[in-house]
Every structure is written in structure tokens, then in C-alpha cells.
Amino acid sequence: MSLNLEEIGRIAKLARLELSAAEAETTLNQLNGIFGFIEQLQAVNTDGIEPMAHAVDVVQRLRPDTVTETDRREAFQAVAPETEAGLYLVPRVVE
């Protein structure tokens, strides 16, 4: 399987990336290269092997339900581009 430039455009759009024509070409080659690796992996016979969800075969540790975080809004918002009335401001988004 290999991708075409149109698909690269769609993937870039989903990832909110702006690609120039040259960058799209480079990305196409790189992603197709990755597909090559995937093809190699898919050639391995995995019949009867249960898929893993994680490379490490251990289970999730759980946290007790207690509030451990304090309000650090001031510190966080000091590095935000724009804030007002405690809110982070972003370019207008309308559904």
C-alpha cells in the first residue's frame, strides 16, 4: 500500500499542519517509507497470538481518589500567550 499526495493533504489537514508542495512531496516519501516497514511487520505470521495494547506486559497502576493538586493558575497563565478573567484566550472558534 502506498499513499498519494491527496491523502497527504487530508492527513495534514486533520493534524492541522500546513505543508508546502515540496514538504508534501517529502512527507509522502517518508510516510511511504514507513508503510514499507509496516509491510515487513505484517509479513510476520502472528496467528494465534493475542494482540498487545502496550509494549510492556504489565497492567495499569491505579491512583486513590484524592485531590492532590492545588491552584497554580497564575504560574500556568504567566506563560500563556493571552488570558483574561482567568480564561485562556484563543482565536475565535465557531461550530
Binding site: 484524592t66 500556568f76 482567568g86
Partner: protein, 487 residues
């Protein structure tokens, strides 16, 4: 509309009642200052890692047990990728391929005529799955000089997304299902059910088809946060789809929003630019393992479920299906009722049911209170009912006693009856004396009665009751008065 069949499935987001967020130690309390409860994990600073909240998993297990579903011994968290400013990571942590809960279902009550055997009409709605995920933040679009304000306090709040099978065939059924689910999640204590605060919200998948035809194309109505809107939105959507098809157009799969002001649904995005969420297992989280002994522990702590309790109320207390259903609308109501019955005995179950669903419910409703906050406790109500059962007071006086208790005029029924001198007069000698006085003072009525006017008798009963301030047993007054007049 009879030649169209409606198919509805619901996806419900129930906010789980935890202290802290699903993957961070920030508080989930409602109504804080914007972003005061958004920690480094919630705002997605680089290098942070999510750690799963054990209590959120307990909530999911409780739900799975309550709906007779399978709780997965191993489930997987996945990233659901999309771009939106109130989702700082650029993905929502959810579950995709292996959810924590699969299958199960719940019985819903339908209105309309009951079956020939006298049972209320019910329907079993199957569930597809329920999975754990995090909520996003909130976007505020007003008042920021053309910019959007982002509050991430809600980001990372634990949600259980409950997905039904498309088993419902009308807006009324969808609402009945939503109400049953709403009652259940509160019953088992996993969600506060506050719809105004967004703790319980529904998305409805709606399609129509000719009977026997394959499923029609569905449209999804997003974010319905009241039962009324759910019903209105679905009914509008059904009619809209039927009109489209009857006018020769095809339904396009789409996500739509309901506008409560116009009562209409409108498309938000169509299939062409539909999201591609590119789910994949979240490498930051390991598989969630739930062993059988953990499930058994949770099960041991689960309250008796509403269906079981309803059946028990009918069998043990001889209550009607209607009464049993009314008393099990919430766990708090059921517990209140059982405390009353525990005190007055099974013989008092029917009066207890009448009081809880009548006087108590009416007063709570009027004052907008929950039964937990009722000024008259179950023990106090039991005191009132006990005095009705032993004929100390009549039903009418009991309402006055209840009123006095409600207003905090006394600690218990007995002290109010004593203080206000409300004890029913059952001593026939005392009643006869009062009747003699009434007869003497109302000679005109007596003559009218003797002349054959039955109405005059009622007037005399009224006078006698008035003279006893309603404390005489009305039947006794009747009997004694009749005897006097006949002599």
C-alpha cells in the same frame, strides 16, 4: 406516520461522582473560578503522565453490575484525536476496542394501557457498551473582543459513556430510557444526575425506515441536557427526515444540534468533513485489569437495585405495581419509605406509601427539596402514621400534625398532639355531651330533620365536629347523633 418506523439509539455521558479527575489529582468540584482546577496534566503541559483514578473504575464496575453487563477483565484506553481548543492534548483519552463494560440492559416503563394481566407496560433496552473517558474543557464564545475564552476546569472530569442499542422506536421511549438510566446512575451513587450542570447529557441517533426495510441513514443529535429537549429534538428530527424522504431527497449522515429557541435541529457537520478520530491505544496508559475478587467486592457494596426492590415491595408489603414504582424512583425515597414501614409495621405499608408519595412528595415538590432534606424525618412520619393506626388521631388531624412537624413546631407527633390537644375524642360519653349541646343550640335543624330534610342531619354532624375541633371520630358522631335523633 404509521407507515414509517423510527429507530433510536442513545449515547449518554454520565459524569462520575469522584473527588478528583480521572487522570489527575485536580478537584472536580463544580463552580470554581475558571482554570483554578486545571492542573499540569489537565492543561497538557509537556512531560506529564496520566494516572488512572481507582474510584472511576469502581463506578464503571458498579454500573456494569447494575445493568447485568460483562465487566472486562482487561480493557484498553485509546486516544481519540481531534483538534479543538478546549482539548489541549489534541486527543481525548477514551476507550475504543475493548471497553470496560459490554452488554447488559435495563427495563423501561412505558405509559399507556397496561397489559391484560394488569402489569405496567415495560420494554427491555439493550446496551452495547459503557466506557470510561475524560471530559473536555469549555469554550466561551462571548465577550472576549472576538476571541474565544477557554476554561479547562472540566477537562479530565471522569465520564462513563453509555451506548444503547437502537432499541427505541419513539421519542417517548427514548425519554423513558433516559429517565430510567438517569435514576439508575444516581441510585448506585456513581453520578449526581444534575442535568443543568451537564452531569448527565444525551446524544440521540435517529433514523426512519419503511417497516421491514433495512436501517435508514441516521443523524446524531448532540448534547441534549434535558428530557424535554430530548423529546422535542427527536420528534422534530423524525418529522424532518420523513419530509425529506417523502419529498424525494436522501438523508445524509450528519451531526446536528438542537436549538431550544426554534425547536429545530440543524446540521453541524456532514459526512464529507466528518472527523477521522484515528483511534489508537494510548501508550501512556497500560491495560486496565479488573480481577474477579475486585468485582465481587464492589458487588457486595452495591445497594439493592430498583427492579429487585420494586418486586420486593409488591411481594412483602402487598403494594400495587404503581405504588412500588413510585416508591423506587430514587434510593433515598425507597429508604425513607422503608424506615417508616420498619417503624409502623407491615400493616402500615399502604398508609406509609400514601403519605410518602402524597403529602411528603407534594411538600418536597412545592419547596424544591430532595427527600434527604425533608424537614419531617422518616421516624417522625412513622410517629404520625402510628397515631392514625391506633385511632389517636384522624387522617385529617394527621395532616395538621404533619404540617406542624414540617414547620418545626415539635419534635414528634406525640408532643404535638399533646401540646395542641389534638387527641381524637373516642369517649362516647364526652361525645354525647357535646351532641346534646349541639342539639339544644340548633333546634331549627332538629325540626327540619324531623320534617324529613336529610341535609339538616349533615349540618348537625358539621356542628358537632366543629364543637370538637375535628377531634371526634366522624363515624362515631354519626352513629350517636342518629341514635339521639331517633329517640
Amino acid at each position: 406516520m404509521s407507515q414509517w418506523e423510527v429507530v433510536i439509539g442513545l449515547e449518554t455521558h454520565a459524569q462520575l461522582k469522584t473527588q478528583s479527575k480521572i487522570f489527575s489529582g485536580a478537584s472536580t468540584a463544580f463552580g470554581a473560578e475558571p482554570n483554578a482546577q486545571a492542573c499540569a496534566v489537565d492543561i497538557a503541559l509537556p512531560g506529564v503522565l496520566p494516572v488512572l483514578n481507582r474510584e472511576a473504575v469502581v463506578c464503571a464496575i458498579k454500573f456494569g453490575l447494575a445493568v447485568g453487563a460483562t465487566v472486562a477483565p482487561r480493557s484498553i484506553f485509546a486516544r481519540k484525536n481531534y483538534f479543538y481548543p478546549d482539548l489541549p492534548k489534541g486527543y481525548q483519552i477514551s476507550q475504543f476496542e475493548i471497553p470496560v463494560v459490554s452488554g447488559g440492559g435495563l427495563t423501561i416503563q412505558l405509559e399507556g394501557p397496561s397489559t391484560s394481566s394488569g402489569q405496567a407496560r415495560t420494554k427491555f433496552v439493550h446496551l452495547t457498551r459503557a466506557h470510561l473517558e475524560e471530559d473536555a474543557g469549555k469554550s466561551l464564545h462571548e465577550d472576549f473582543h472576538g476571541k474565544t475564552g477557554i476554561d479547562l476546569n472540566r477537562a479530565g472530569t471522569p465520564l462513563l459513556e453509555i451506548v444503547s442499542e437502537p432499541d427505541m422506536s419513539s421519542a417517548v421511549e427514548a425519554v423513558a430510557y433516559a429517565k430510567a438510566l438517569h435514576a439508575l446512575v444516581q441510585w448506585i451513587g456513581i453520578c449526581d444526575g444534575n442535568m443543568q450542570e451537564g452531569s448527565f447529557r444525551c446524544d440521540a441517533n435517529v433514523s426512519v425506515r419503511r417497516p421491514g426495510a433495512p436501517l435508514g441513514t441516521r443523524r446524531e443529535i448532540k448534547n441534549l441536557n434535558s428530557f424535554r429537549f430530548l423529546e422535542q429534538a427527536i420528534n422534530y428530527e423524525i418529522q424532518w427526515q420523513i419530509n425529506e424522504i417523502e419529498e424525494g431527497r436522501k438523508i445524509q449522515q450528519a451531526t446536528v444540534l438542537f436549538d431550544p429557541d426554534t425547536g429545530e435541529t440543524r446540521a453541524m457537520r456532514s459526512k464529507e468533513d466528518a472527523q477521522d478520530y484515528r483511534y489508537f491505544p494510548d501508550p501512556d496508559l497500560l491495560p486496565l485489569e479488573i480481577k474477579a475478587d475486585w468485582i465481587a467486592d464492589v458487588k457486595a457494596g452495591l445497594p439493592e437495585l430498583p427492579e429487585a426492590m420494586k418486586a420486593r415491595f409488591e411481594a412483602d408489603y402487598g403494594l400495587s405495581a404503581y405504588d412500588a414504582a413510585g416508591l423506587t424512583t430514587s434510593l433515598a425515597t425507597a429508604r425513607y419509605f422503608e424506615t417508616v414501614v420498619g417503624s409502623v409495621g407491615k400493616a402500615g405499608a399502604k398508609p406509609a406509601a400514601n403519605w410518602v408519595m402524597g403529602e411528603v412528595a407534594a411538600r418536597l415538590n412545592k419547596e424544591g427539596l430532595d427527600i434527604d432534606a425533608a424537614p419531617v424525618t422518616a421516624a417522625q412520619l412513622a410517629g404520625v402514621i402510628a397515631r392514625i393506626l391506633d385511632n389517636t388521631i384522624s387522617n385529617k388531624i394527621a395532616r395538621d400534625v404533619f404540617e406542624a412537624l414540617w414547620n418545626g413546631e415539635g419534635q414528634d407527633a406525640d408532643s404535638i398532639i399533646e401540646a395542641k390537644g389534638l387527641k381524637q375524642i373516642t369517649d362516647s360519653g364526652a361525645i354525647e355531651k357535646i351532641i346534646d349541646e349541639v342539639l339544644a343550640a340548633n333546634q331549627k335543624s332538629v325540626e327540619e330533620f324531623r320534617a324529613g330534610k336529610d341535609k339538616a342531619f349533615n349540618a348537625l354532624v358539621g356542628q358537632a365536629m366543629k364543637a370538637t375541633k375535628g377531634k371526634a371520630n366522624p363515624q362515631q358522631v354519626n352513629d350517636l347523633l342518629k341514635a339521639k335523633l331517633a329517640s
